[in-house]
């Protein structure tokens, strides 16, 4: 039986509508997690089907899921489950301490589900125009999530995010419109001129000169939204001001959506223009992102911004893998998206508990966390180690694969930069983490905060669960290895 992919966006959309009308109540607050678990389950069903029988289509081919989509659906479901389940405890604390109101909690829950619904549309729409509309929808929804606290800094962050985000995404739309224009001037049916499958088929006949202009806009636009340097300046502000579960969703999977869009366009461009055009642009963005991330992580004073720049680093690594473009590199890029998504969502969610426990987001405001808050400290520490690429987590495997693929491809100089950057970041994060976690933990040095905060079991389960899944994928890759291979085959040139 063919699985129904149309259900994917409908489930979270219905939950979003329900939360918006009924509100954030004990009866409704677990629905987001259930909806995300459903998405993961459907994703696994789709994956099993796709690996054996090829892509699934729906609504006259407007929606289509291949191996890449299936992998992304599972990622959306997994990160969504962690962040939605953690939201329950997070919003409960915010409501009891009076930092948020029931109205804002209702809006928060609905917007998180709306973002997830839009991301599901991103990965299953074959029409690149619909894909754009869905990505812009995620921008609009997450701007309101970033502004959730409504104080000066969160207003500042949401303004910068919406202005730079809209201009970035608008640039991608200009590129998409130009791709449509170029596609209409080739042979083929006009009604499918903006469909990815049809564009891949007609790619050899597309005018290279005009397509080059279009792809330039697309790469700059979606690159901005993915958080690639030099147009990443909105990212640390937005991630540091968003409430922890929202930041976890944005860093864990939302930026990956723009990267996914880039990879889809890259397939068309590689056929029509040869590999060098997109490769050069991605290499520049990758190297700049890595250097920016390293230089700003060394001197970083805010732990949420530290994680934000870690996102810039990992997006840079994914862009580097995409620039290499071989099947090995593409499966490394996809595995890196999963590893980063799971570890980053746990790390950002934990910052919520850290903020509740210590009342500060400054690195030098926290001492001896391991002694005072062993659970929070351990979760944060382990997720940082995962992000740094230590075993048993999958980021190690994907980084080794990127290096191997790069050496095969003769990109030694870019790999040398990447390795040096990763070493610098490794030391910098370790020093920052030791400063925060180690020490005797004299309570009197704390900034005033809700000191009585206890991390509840509801908060612990999603955090630990996320780390266990991340470690499991690192230890044994076989459950997803066939899917990874199939997905890499779709994307590699």
């Amino acid at each position: 039986m063919t699985p129904s992919i149309v259900l994917l966006p409908i489930v979270p959309a219905v939950v979003a509508a329900l939360l918006a009308t009924v509100g954030w109540r004990p009866t409704t607050m677990w629905l987001p997690a259930i909806s995300c678990l459903t998405i993961s389950g459907l994703g696994i069903v789709v994956a099993a089907h796709v690996v054996d029988n090829g892509p699934v289509t729906a609504v006259e081919g407007q929606f289509r899921a291949d191996a890449v989509s299936a992998l992304m659906i599972i990622l959306i479901g997994a990160v969504g489950t962690v962040t939605s389940a953690y939201s329950v405890a997070h919003l409960r604390t915010e409501l009891t301490t009076g930092t948020t109101t029931p109205q804002r909690a209702r809006l928060f829950g609905a917007l998180m589900q709306l973002t997830i619904a839009a991301m599901c549309v991103v990965v299953i729409s074959d029409n690149l125009g619909v894909l754009w509309v869905a990505i812009e929808t995620t921008t609009i929804a997450t701007v309101l999530l970033v502004g959730h606290r409504r104080d000066r800094t969160s207003v500042e962050a949401s303004w910068k995010y919406l202005v730079l985000g809209s201009v970035g995404v608008a640039t991608a739309l200009m590129g998409t419109v130009l791709v449509y224009f170029v596609s209409r001037h080739s042979s083929g049916d006009a009604s499918t001129a903006l469909n990815w499958t049809s564009l891949v088929e007609r790619a050899p006949h597309l005018d290279p000169g005009a397509l080059r202009v279009a792809m330039g806009f697309v790469i700059v636009g979606y690159g901005t939204k993915a958080g690639l340097a030099p147009l990443h300046s909105w990212l640390p502000d937005a991630y540091s001001q968003a409430p922890a579960p929202a930041a976890a969703l944005m860093a864990g999977v939302l930026s990956t959506m723009s990267m996914y869009a880039l990879l889809r366009f890259k397939v068309i461009a590689d056929i029509a223009l040869g590999p060098h055009y997109v490769r050069t642009m991605l290499l520049i963005a990758a190297v700049m992102s890595l250097l920016t991330a390293a230089s700003l992580m060394v001197t970083q004073r805010d732990y949420k911004r530290l994680l934000a720049y870690s996102s810039v680093e990992h997006m840079g690594l994914i862009a580097l893998a995409a620039a290499i473009g071989s099947p090995l590199a593409m499966s490394a890029a996809l595995l890196h998206m999963i590893g980063n998504g799971l570890a980053k969502s746990v790390a950002f969610s934990t910052t919520g508990e850290m903020l509740f426990a210590t009342g500060t987001t400054r690195i030098d405001g926290i001492r001896g966390l391991l002694h005072r808050r062993p659970f929070i400290a351990a979760t944060f520490g382990v997720s940082l180690l995962a992000l740094l690429g230590l075993p048993p987590f999958s980021i190690l495997a994907s980084e080794i694969a990127i290096v191997r693929a790069g050496v095969d491809d003769g990109l030694a100089w870019a790999l040398a930069i990447a390795l040096v950057v990763m070493l610098v970041i490794f030391v910098a994060v370790l020093v920052h983490a030791l400063n925060m976690l180690a020490g005797s933990g004299d309570e009197s040095t704390d900034a005033p905060g809700p000191a009585a905060h206890v991390t509840s079991l509801t908060a612990r389960i999603p955090l630990v669960g996320g780390l266990i899944v991340a470690a499991a994928i690192g230890v044994t890759i076989w459950p997803i290895s066939r899917l990874l291979d199939a997905a890499a085959e779709v994307l590699a040139r």
């Binding site: 125009g129 609009i140 910068k160």
Partner: protein, 219 residues
Amino acid sequence: MTTTRFVQLLDLAAGLVLVTSFAVLWLRRLVTVTWVIAVQGMALAAVALVIGVYEHETELALIALMVFALRGLVLPGLILRAVRAGDEHREVESLINVPAALLAASGLTLVAYATTRDVVALSSTPQVRALPLGIAVMLIGMLLIVTRRKAVLQIMGVLMVDNGIALVMFLGTSGVPLAVELGIASDVLLAMFILQVLTARIRTKFGGTDLDQLRELRD
């Protein structure tokens, strides 16, 4: 409609879209600038209408109506409300002066023509010949965002970027499929609405909408 008349009307309307974007850089009174943005939206609707009538495409004529309502009336109306709420009708703050801004905009127009040579070469219709104008309007919108420090002017910049894309859409392909068109329109409307909400929040939190105050977040 004869072909000569069509070319004349099309060039007039598309040219007006570009001229209004220069006027936004040049004019100083915020209320006047808002009217200019409204004229730009109406000129854009005229482009769609002219093409729709000439090519006998009813769908495009309907889209022209939608563009007129949205970009000519509703969105400028939203901006006008933000301007009126601010009591700051004069805009003086800019990182570069007017002659420099106009010069930069002229340069961007040249860039738009230079980069799209290969695109224009694909077809010889009068619509496609005018297509670089849309890219120019988008780039001038970005210039406005980068050089102006007032919240409403950045909103207008975002709207100009979108108007430029819409112009390319109408000129290049007589619009994109209707479903995509509706999606784009509702996203633009929502983004504008939220920008206006944020402007109000900036005003209550910072006591004005001068964006130079927004500098608490830094590394």
